[in-house]
Symmetry: C2
Subunit: 153 residues, 2 copies
C-alpha cells in the first residue's frame, strides 16, 4: 500500500541524500493537505536538533500561526527519534506514520533505538548522564514561576 | 550554593517573563565559558520546539561550528523536558544542571513529568498516540539507507 504523504517524505529524504545530507524527510499534514516539509539539516546547519521531523514541526507552527498542532499528522521517512517523538506529543500531534524502522536502520548505523531505550529508564539509572537538581534559594515572591503567573495572569 | 551559570539561566528566564514569554532560560558552557544563551520562544515564534534548552543547543552548534557538543554542559532554569533531554543526549552532552524541578513547576501547570512518564512506556502502550510503521516496498538498490551509504561512502 502506498501513501502519497509518506511517498513525499521519502522523496524529500532521497533528494537530501543527493544534496549530501542525511537520509531523512518528513511532512506535516492537516485536513488532507501538506502544510510543512523538511529534511535533515544536521550537517548543513551544524544544528544537533535539525532532524526532519523537528524542522517540519517548526515550519508547521509558522505556517499555521500557532505552536499547537492538534489535528495534524506527521509522515516521516524514518522512525522518529525520542526528541522528535516528544516534540510531536507536546505539540499535540497524535498521528504518526513512518516508513523505515529502527530495525531497518540498524545495519547502517542510523537507528536511535539504543538512545530511546536509555531515555526510557528513570533519570538516576541512565548511563553516562549527570543530571543535577540545584534548587534556587529565593524568597517566595521571587519564585520564577510565581513571577510568571503574576505577569501572565 | 550558587552557580554563576545557573544564575545566568535564571536571569534569562526572568527577563523572558518581562518580555511576555515563558519562564525558561538556558546556557551552554564549554571550558568554563558560556558559548550559547537562549530563552523559551514558543509563543513569540509559534514554534512548538522553541524551548530554551533546544534553542541553546542550536546556538551552541552554530557557535562551535559542529552539531556535536561533547564536553559541553547545560544549565537550565527548569527541569529539561523529554524533547530537550533527548536532544542533549544525542548531541553528546553529558552534564546537565537545572534549578526548578518538575515538582516545583507542577502547581503552575509547567511540569512535563506526565509527558515524560508517558514517553517512558513502550510505544504500543502509550496513550493517545497512533504510531504506524508502513514499510516501503522498494527494490534493494532503492533502499533509502543503502542509497545514503553509497553516496556518503
Amino acid at each position: 500500500m502506498t501513501n502519497r504523504f509518506l511517498d513525499e517524505a521519502i522523496a524529500l529524504a532521497r533528494e537530501n541524500i543527493r544534496q549530501g545530507g542525511r537520509p531523512f524527510g518528513a511532512v506535516v499534514v492537516k485536513d488532507g493537505e501538506i502544510v510543512a516539509r523538511a529534511v535533515n539539516r544536521l550537517l548543513a546547519d551544524n544544528d544537533p536538533t535539525a532532524h526532519a521531523e523537528l524542522l517540519a514541526l517548526r515550519a508547521a507552527g509558522k505556517a499555521l500561526g500557532s505552536p499547537r498542532l492538534e489535528g495534524c499528522s506527521v509522515y516521516a521517512s524514518g522512525q522518529p527519534c525520542p526528541m522528535c517523538l516528544a516534540a510531536m506529543r507536546m505539540s499535540g500531534i497524535r498521528d504518526i506514520t513512518f516508513a523505515y524502522s529502527n530495525a531497518q536502520a540498524e545495519p547502517f548505523g542510523l537507528s536511535t533505538a539504543a538512545i530511546a531505550a536509555e531515555l526510557m529508564k528513570p533519570l538516576d539509572q541512565q548511563s553516562g548522564l549527570s543530571i543535577k537538581h540545584s534548587p534556587p534559594e529565593v524568597a517566595e515572591e521571587d519564585h520564577l514561576y510565581r513571577l510568571w503567573q503574576k505577569q501572565s495572569g
